[in-house]
């Protein structure tokens, strides 16, 4: 079996005196869609932030495509090929959709190819093309999420991490976003999805990690996990 694209081993991190992650092990293979599920405060967001270098790790290892990325800094992580779409989208207020997308390509110097990638994300989410010159934060929640995902792939990542894809969005929009993600995945981008809505996550992902109080409580194929009585009771309401 080839080495996974992303391999996290024994990762511990937190904020100040508060430790959130207590030895997390996680692996993502190239081409997969993997999800991380768990309740509020379990440490999902902290895990993504530690991988992307926004929170300092205290212990453990993060290997990505053969490179050691532990505490490498957010710009080095992005250059290595991990893009992070943050919770709450965090689009830049007062800036157009196009400028937001261009900021996703901030580290790239191949200007002509960036233009081509703009067309590519406009194909993927046509509404963004219509709204290209509109203030990104004045769009609807679903459109903003599309913009945030598109901004993420403007860096041409190998791995796209998305924090809370579905939060606060209508079911039809979530479906539309899911289709978008699958299209992105078909283009060869591996996806790591953090979700509170386990049903949505399991539909999209082939494998899942269940986080509870800063540790991985369970992991496996989503098909198997969705039959697990404990998971069903805790997360699927059945």
């Amino acid at each position: 079996m080839p080495e996974p694209l992303l391999k996290v081993t024994g990762l511990a991190s937190g904020y100040g005196d508060v430790q959130v992650l207590w030895g997390v092990d996680l692996d993502v293979n190239e081409g997969e869609i993997v999800c991380i599920v768990g309740s509020n405060g379990a440490g999902k967001t902290t895990l993504l932030r530690t991988i992307s270098g926004m929170v300092t790790a205290r212990q453990g290892e993060i290997r990505f495509a053969g490179e050691n990325l532990l505490n490498a800094g957010p710009d080095a992580v992005l250059s290595a090929g991990i893009a992070h779409v943050p919770e709450g989208r965090r689009l830049f207020r007062g800036m157009s959709v196009k400028d937001n997308l261009l900021l996703g390509a901030y580290l790239r110097s191949d200007r002509s190819e960036v233009e081509g990638d703009l067309d590519h994300v406009f194909d993927l989410f046509p509404i963004l093309k219509e709204r290209a010159s509109q203030d990104a934060t004045t769009m609807s929640g679903g459109e903003q999420q599309m913009c945030a995902i598109a901004r993420g792939i403007m860096s041409r990542p190998k791995l796209l991490m998305i924090d809370e894809l579905s939060l606060g969005l209508a079911p039809r929009l979530i479906e539309r976003l899911g289709e978008g993600l699958q299209a992105i995945n078909r283009h060869g981008i591996t996806i790591l999805l953090v979700e509170q809505d386990v049903m949505t996550a399991f539909e999209l992902a082939s494998r899942a990690f269940v986080v509870e109080t800063g540790r991985i409580a369970k992991s496996g194929d989503t098909a198997t996990l969705s039959d697990d009585p404990v998971i069903r009771q805790a997360y699927l309401g059945a």
Binding site: S52, M54, P74, D75, L78, S79, H84, P86, R90, L91, F92, R93, G94, M95, D99, L102, L103, G104, Y106, L107, D135, R151, S155
Partner: protein
Amino acid sequence: MDLGQVLANGIVLGALYACLAVGFSLVWGVLNVINMLHGSFIILGGYLTFFAWHLFGVHPLLMLPVVGALLFCLGYFLQAVFINKVVTAPVLTTLTLTFGLDMILYNFMTVYFSATPRQVTLDLGSIDLFGIYLPNERLLGMALALLLTGLLFVTMRSSSIGRAIVAVRMDRFAAALMGIKVNRIYAITFGIGALMAGTAGALFALVYPVTTNLTGIFLGKAFVVCVIGGLGSVPGALVGGLALGLIESISGVVFGPQHSLTVGFVVMLVLLVFRPTGLVGVKGYE
């Protein structure tokens, strides 16, 4: 004095004020730092221009890019080495730090350059436009001040570095996720603020005498321009600058020149009460 002349004087002065204040506004808006050094940066730019001309015969226009580059480096250095250490602290901390740095720069300039008012005298002649008398140095200063302010506007709007500066201003967490080195952008922003101050000072020295005694007054004017126009935007500084130029020029005739400074501050106070966002209070840095 007739109205045309008063308005013309006001517009010339206002263009210089816009250029003088826009860097202060940028730094305040993006870094949330009230830069007490701004007045000294202006005078330093003016002095460098004057002494290069006076001692070595360097033409002020040739000196303008040199002053810009030197002040940018000074600003970048001060931010990267000192201010970045406390940039996330409450505004009083950074204000105190820049105040301390200003004391050093101000006294350095007074000791080595003295406080004697200095002005570059180019004698470029003047034009007479329907009875309005306009010395060509003033027109040149105004044109260059507007050009520099316009260049900053274009840079902020349509360059990669401009987008990064605005992104950092709006959301430094998300900006870091875009791979933007936030501390480096802070240093570049402070450098640009110093560059605009220095070049504004160089242009001032073509039109009015500059002296270290004016650092506080220039700082005050930058403050007034920001409040009148609206903080953190180039159009805001332009509107605020022109407004202050016209206010000073008109009130100088109506109440006497000794009161023009006071009137500027009074207008600022009135605006703070009735329209605290300024005349063109925009949210984004456009």
